[in-house]
C-alpha cells in the first residue's frame, strides 16, 4: 500500500487503505495458522464475515430452543433428523433463488414453480391413472420447471421486462396452473403418494422419508469425506508445490478433520433408532439429495466459467459484456437452473406432505426461500453469496419452524421470529457492504 491514498469519488478517504488491509483473503497471505486466524479475524471485523453470522445465529437458536423446549427435546436425535427434513425444502429453494440473486435479479415464482413440478410428478406416478415410472415422472416434472425457467428468463433477458414483474406474474400464473393440474384425475384435488403404499409413488415418498441402511450410511460417509479430503489436500499441496502462496498444512488438516467430524456426527445421529415403536434408523435420503445439489451447484458456481460469469454479471454487467460474456444466455440459464432446482425442492415438499393439495402455499415458500438465502449471507444486490449460504439459511428457518412447533407456539410467532431474523440478516448484509467495500459503495 502506498502511504497516501486519494479519496475515491465521495467515499471516506480512509476507507480504501483500511479495506485493502482487511479484505485480503487470509488463506492467501497467511503462511501459518496464527497468521491465518489473525487475517480471518481482521476480515470479520472489517465486515466480510462470510459464514460467521449465520453459524452464530444458528448456534444461538439451537441453545435457546434447547433450553426452553419441553424436556429439552430440541437436540434429541429424532428431532434433529426431523428438523433437517423440515429444513430441506427451504434449503433447496434457497439454493434455487441463489442463482438469480447472484445476478442481482429476483424470482418470486419459485414456490409455485416448485409446486407445478411436484404436481406433475405426483400425478404421473398415480397407479390408477397414468402409471408412469417414478424416474420418468421426476424427469417430466423437472423438465416442466426448466421450460418455465427458460420462458421467464427469456422475458427478463431478451424482452427486458424486470424480473420482479415477470416472476410476480409467474407466481399468480403457476398458482393457477398448479390448481388446474391438481384437479386432473379422480383424486378430488388431493393426489397422494401414500394411498397405495408401494411402487412408484412410494419412491417419491421416500425422497424425504426413506432412509439409507446404517452400514451403508457409514461406508458412504467415509467414502465421501475421504474423496473430498483427498481433493482438498491435493489442491492445497499443488498450490504449495507450485510456489503460490498456499494455506498452511495445519489448516488443510483442520479442514479435513472438521469435515470428518461433521460427517461422523451426522451419521451417528441419524443411525440412532428414533422410532417410538419398532425401528427407524439410518441417514434419510433427503440429506444425500441436499448434499448432491449443494456439491453440484458449488462446483458449477465456483469452479467453472459459467459460475465465474454469473458472479461477474452480478458485480458489473458492463465489465462482463466488454469481456465478451454472453449476458443473455448466462442470465437465461440462471433462471432455468433456478426453476430446475426449485423443482427438486418441490419434489421434496410433495414427499414431506405425502402428496399434493391446494394447501401448498407457494407464495409463502418463496418468501422463505429468499429469506433463507439472505439469512445465509447471499446479497440481494448481486455478486455476493455462495451455495452453502442457502443451505445454512434454510437450516435457520427450519430450526425456527421446528422450535416454535415444539414449544406449541401458534404460527404467528413463527412468522414474527423468522421476520426478525431476516431483518437482522439484511441489516448485517448492508452494514458489511458499507464497511467492506469502498468503491462499490459509490456505485450502489
Amino acid at each position: 500500500m502506498s502511504t497516501s491514498e486519494a479519496p475515491e469519488r465521495q467515499a471516506d478517504p480512509t476507507a480504501a487503505p483500511e479495506a485493502a488491509a482487511v479484505e485480503v483473503p487470509p488463506g492467501i497471505v497467511a503462511q501459518n495458522l496464527g497468521e491465518y486466524l489473525q487475517g480471518w479475524w481482521a476480515r470479520v471485523r472489517g465486515g466480510d464475515s462470510g459464514l460467521l453470522p449465520v453459524i452464530g445465529g444458528l448456534l444461538v437458536i439451537i441453545v435457546v430452543f434447547q433450553a426452553i423446549s419441553p424436556e429439552h427435546v430440541f437436540l434429541s436425535a429424532g428431532n434433529l433428523v426431523n428438523l433437517f427434513q423440515q429444513s430441506a425444502v427451504f434449503m433447496v429453494l434457497a439454493m434455487a433463488e441463489g442463482f438469480v440473486l447472484l445476478l442481482g435479479e429476483i424470482d418470486l415464482s419459485v414456490g409455485y414453480v416448485a409446486a407445478v413440478g411436484a404436481v406433475i410428478a405426483v400425478q404421473l406416478v398415480q397407479p390408477s391413472t397414468t402409471k408412469w415410472p417414478w424416474w420418468a415422472a421426476i424427469i417430466a416434472g423437472l423438465a416442466a420447471c426448466c421450460g418455465i425457467g427458460a420462458m421467464q428468463g427469456s422475458l427478463v433477458t431478451r424482452l427486458r421486462v424486470p424480473s420482479f414483474v415477470v416472476t410476480l406474474a409467474g407466481l399468480l400464473v403457476f398458482n393457477g396452473v398448479m390448481l388446474i393440474l391438481l384437479l386432473l384425475g379422480p383424486f378430488s384435488g388431493y393426489p397422494s403418494l401414500t394411498s397405495t403404499g408401494r411402487g412408484n409413488p412410494q419412491v417419491l415418498y421416500n425422497l424425504m422419508w426413506g432412509t439409507i441402511d446404517p452400514i451403508v450410511s457409514w461406508v458412504a460417509m467415509v467414502v465421501i469425506v475421504g474423496l473430498l479430503g483427498l481433493n482438498l489436500w491435493l489442491r492445497d499441496a499443488r498450490r504449495r508445490g507450485s510456489g503460490l502462496v498456499a494455506p498452511p498444512v495445519s489448516l488443510t488438516i483442520i479442514k479435513i478433520a472438521l469435515m470428518a467430524v461433521i460427517g461422523i456426527t451426522v451419521v451417528a445421529i441419524c443411525n440412532v433408532n428414533r422410532a417410538a415403536v419398532g425401528t427407524l434408523e439410518g441417514v434419510p435420503w433427503v440429506i444425500a439429495i441436499v448434499l448432491a445439489v449443494l456439491g453440484a451447484w458449488t462446483v458449477l458456481l465456483e469452479r467453472t466459467r459459467y459460475g465465474r460469469y454469473v458472479y461477474a454479471i452480478g458485480g458489473n454487467p458492463e465489465a462482463a459484456r466488454r469481456a465478451g460474456v454472453d449476458l443473455t444466455n448466462v442470465r437465461t440459464l440462471a433462471f432455468v437452473l433456478c426453476s430446475f432446482t426449485a423443482g427438486i425442492g418441490g419434489l421434496l415438499y410433495a414427499s414431506l406432505l405425502g402428496g399434493m393439495s391446494n394447501n401448498v402455499n407457494g407464495g409463502q415458500l418463496v418468501l422463505y426461500a429468499v429469506a433463507a438465502a439472505v439469512i445465509g449471507g447471499t446479497s440481494l444486490f448481486g455478486g455476493r453469496g455462495r451455495v452453502i449460504h442457502g443451505v445454512l439459511g434454510g437450516l435457520v428457518i427450519g430450526a425456527i419452524y421446528n422450535g416454535t412447533y415444539l414449544l406449541g407456539l401458534a404460527v404467528q410467532w413463527q412468522f414474527i421470529v423468522t421476520g426478525l431474523v431476516l431483518v437482522a440478516a439484511v441489516t448485517i448484509d448492508s452494514l458489511s457492504r458499507r464497511g467492506a467495500t469502498s468503491g462499490s459503495a459509490a456505485r450502489a
Binding site: A6, A20, S242, R305, R308, E318, A319, G324, R384
Partner: protein
Amino acid sequence: MTDHNAAEPLLRVRGLDKHFGPVQALTAVDLDLPAGQVTCLCGDNGAGKSVLTKCIAGIHQPDHGQMYWEGHPVQVRSPRDASQLGIETVYQDLALADNLDIVQNMFLGRERLRRGLLDENDMERAAAETLASLRVTTVRSIRQPVASLSGGQRQSVAVAKAVMWNSKLVIMDEPTAALGVVQTRQVLDLVRRLRERGLAVMVISHNLNDVFAVADRIAVLYLGRMVAQDAKSAFDPQTVVEYMTTGGQMRPGALQAGEGVSTNVDQ
C-alpha cells in the same frame, strides 16, 4: 514489419470520416500511432476523441477512410477484431467487477481451464507475472477483491488486464481523471513502462500536466478535425490549448505540422 521502413507506425489512420445522422463527428482524420511511443490525444469536449477511439477499437464503423496495421490495410469491425490485432482499450470506467479478485478480473472472459474446470493456479501465476513485469507492487495480494483497491491500483489492474494478451496498442481513456497526486504518478509510470516494452500507447487526456509528463507525441482534435500532430518538442502547453480551443487558427502555419509525422517521431 521487415518489408517496410522502420518509420512505419504500428497503426496508421488515414482520412477517417464518421457522422451520426446530420452530425459530422470526424472529418478526414489522420493519426499515426508508432510502436514504443506514447501519443497523447487532446481535444475539448465534443472534439471527437471518443468517437475516434471507438472507431479504432471497433465499436464504431467509420464511414470513409482506411486504417493500416503494421503497414497492411485492415478493417476493424468489432471489439473482437481489435483484440485479435492486438488493440486493447482501457475505458474510463475501467470495467472491473468489484466482487471479483484481481486474477478473476484480469482473466474475465478468457479463463484458462484444466479438465473443464477453472485453472486458478495457472491464472494466478500468469497474473502475478504480468503485474510484476509492470512493477505493480502496491497490491498486497492478487486475490484481493477489486472493491478493496485504490483508484490507482484499479487503473493498474485494468492496464495489466489489457497488456496481458500480447497487445501491441493500448488505448487509455482519461487514465488519471479522478486520481490523486500519488496515484496519478503511479499510473504515468505505468504508461512509461508500456512504452519501454515497445507497445504503442494512446492516452486521451484533458490534463496538460500529464500530457507533457508522459507524451512522446501529441495529437489535437478540434471539432472532428486533426488540427495538429507532432513530437512533443513541437508544442508547449500554450500552443496545445490554442489548438484545442481555436483549432490553431491563430497559428496558420502550424496546421501543416501533421505532414512531417513519420520523420519527427523521434524525440
